[in-house]
């Protein structure tokens, strides 16, 4: 009996070791160092809540929090998920050229990220970008340096995010939609329900748990996305397009100020953990 209760722990020991080494330990270090002044290569000095006070009084940090949670994890993720659901519905129904259309829609997701980001910058480049060149040629528009202004620069970041990641979530929703019982749709059609009614009364109630799980998951992933913003703008112009990941990089690697980098994420940790807990609950509910 005793042997039986020990053996399972032995089997999960490797994964638990990795979990503690790569998840729990870094998290622990992050939280602890948030209460210290930790400069590159120097011993940490305890400073209490100083880092938290400093950051929450820093307009750049507050602006970055806004960027991260409102346009980035809020607007970009939600538009993307909504579009993904629409595309998935379309692909689930379309019969003609279905495979070709699916392949085309999924293409952005399959392309390498860095290549796409570099191409995205070039496309919008005011001097040699294809869009500006077309606007100049056909509409005599002056070249627009869109990455030089906050709103347009962040707009382009969001647009890229939507273009790049909508296909992935489309695929997930498509899988979900194809798992729904066709008999429900057939009955609804016999009863004379239109497309909107079918979506409202059948598709949405059934797909809703999956949609919420995917949205939360996407928010958590997007929160940690460093590459998109860094390659497109590096936080410019005037550090206005930073998200938390890029701002933390700036503190850690450009300033050698590790404690501020840690604290920038520790502040939002309760919120992220809350999101993850809700996500887990939703997944558990979904599986039941």
């Amino acid at each position: 009996m005793k042997k039986d209760s020990v053996i399972p722990y032995f089997f999960i020991l490797p994964i638990m070791t990795l979990f503690f080494l790569f998840i729990i330990y870094p998290l622990f270090i992050e939280i602890i160092y948030s209460f210290f002044n930790k400069k590159l290569g120097l011993k940490p000095v305890f400073v209490g809540f100083d880092n938290f006070v400093k950051l929450t009084n820093d307009p750049l940090y507050i602006h970055t929090l806004w960027n991260t949670f409102v346009p980035w994890c809020g607007v970009a993720v939600n538009i993307k998920m909504l579009l993904a659901l629409l595309f998935a519905n379309y692909l689930a129904e379309t019969t003609r050229f279905r495979r070709v259309i699916r392949a085309i829609i999924l293409l952005p997701w399959a392309l390498p990220l860095i290549t796409c980001l570099s191409a995205w910058r070039w496309i919008w480049d005011p001097d040699w970008g294809v869009i500006n060149r077309a606007l100049q040629t056909f509409f005599a528009c002056p070249p627009l340096p869109l990455f030089a202004e906050y709103k347009s620069a962040f707009g382009l970041i969001i647009l890229f995010h939507i273009w790049k990641w909508t296909p992935f979530w489309t695929l997930i929703f498509l899988g979900g939609l194809q798992g729904l019982p066709p008999s429900l749709y057939e009955s609804a059609k016999i009863d004379g329900a239109g497309r909107f009614e079918i979506f409202k009364y059948i598709t949405w109630p059934l797909i809703k748990p999956l949609y919420i799980i995917c949205t939360l998951l996407s928010m958590v992933w997007t929160l940690g996305d460093f590459t998109t913003v860094w390659v497109l703008t590096q936080g410019a112009p005037a550090e206005s397009t930073h998200v938390l990941a890029t701002l933390a990089y700036r503190y850690a690697f450009l300033h050698g100020d590790l404690s501020t980098a840690y604290t920038s994420f520790t502040i939002i940790l309760p919120l992220v953990l809350g999101m993850i807990l809700i996500l887990i609950r939703k997944i558990e509910g979904f599986l039941k």
Partner: protein
Amino acid sequence: MSGEKKEEKMDRRKYIKYIGAGAAIAAAAAIGYGVSELTKPPPKPTTVVTTVPAPTTIVTTVPTVITVPTPVVTTYSTPSPTSRRITVWWTTMYLAAEQLATIQAVREFEKQTGIGVDITFFTEAGLVEKVTTAVEGKKFPDIVLTHMPFLAANIAVNGLLEDLTSFVNEIKNDLLPPVLEASLQFNKVENKWSYYAIPLLTDAYNVHFWKDLYGRDSAPTDWEEFWASVKEAHNKICKPKGIYGYGLTMSDLQTDGYEAFHAISKSFGFDPFPERKLAIDTPSNRKALIETIEFATSLYRQGLFPPGVITWKNPDNNNAFHSRIIAGTSNHTLSIPAYQYENNKDNYYNKMFTSVWPIGPYGDNRVQLNARHIFIFKDAPNKDLALKFLSFFLTPENYAPYVKGYIGRFVPILKSALEIDKDFWYNPKDPNIPVQVEAVTKRKGAPLLNTLHPVWAKLDADNIFPRAWIKVLTQNITPEQAADELIAQVKKAFEEFYRA
């Protein structure tokens, strides 16, 4: 039915048995190979070169830039089982020839000293990340060459670098004077200034022109005449072709933007750090800042620069020049002519030229110099060997061919190295290299501020200076407001530094 099932089960068992036997044989073979490899006598020293794809820029004659992966040497080591080894981290260079020059020098060092070298090349940002994690993990390399000025400053300020004063004293008389100035770093832990890093390479802020697009074979050195000539070229030659007279990087991305800002501000007499003491809020400095902001933004508004200059990254002015959408540009190092030298000698010798940065409107003839620092960690495992390596590199006969291998992109920091290859550095037929050498040796060299103090390094890492240009152009604030904002930011940063 049950018989079929039984047969199927037996088949599966057989299958698993065969797979198991196969795996056992493979494992035995792998172990055998491993044992034989481990018991082998050590190999004779042979060069190991690892190549990985790294982006290289290919520029076409139309304004299109293509990046393709080409093999670039990343890690180079010569296994020498008997001798000691040092770990060297180097910044990846712009041209393949530059890495080859480094590898050749390393090979020579190994040959002469018997000390093995493990050299790894990193991108600029990659090196910063690697050094940061190495410092935190206390796994120091022995010697590092960086092109990011803030890196040496960030590490020196925390007292992590070896004081190279005695070494610098040995070669002091041979060093170009501004180099010495850029070597002096602040150690806040011990509260002292000392030679913690040596610029292995230096370079000036140069101007390059296409002769046909500029309509001249040389550029005036007088400020007003210089910009009048650029305007003339823009209006008469470039504008009708739909291209631009000049490409001045004005963005707050990467390093070219702040280098341009500092070069122009120096021309207007901006001197905020005389004798390493902050004096940014003097009326003359405020005026110089306002003029710097006004000057570039007004040229931008006049359409003299491509509209994208406010979003350009470091390679973009190079690309615009090679693509001939600008008649001229300014740039640290001779990377632009060096590219043409490698790809089109006719362009290099006959169709383009380099000029010194013009003398400022009030007669300020300082020319901006950059420093590419080499440093040794205080806790490096092989500090003695690292010093040997540094000493080898900076011996004129070893150093001269190394710098020459960069096709003149940088200027040697040793006067004697210039003398050794006089024909190369002062070749009268070369329209580019002697110009930069003259700028470095004859004009009054002024190192970039970020080489002089960790706070300037931090401010340039944040790119606060060119941001003033962008704010004036995109947020409609006045140059006066932008200048006052800059002054306040700099003062605050210094206050915080000394308060902490």
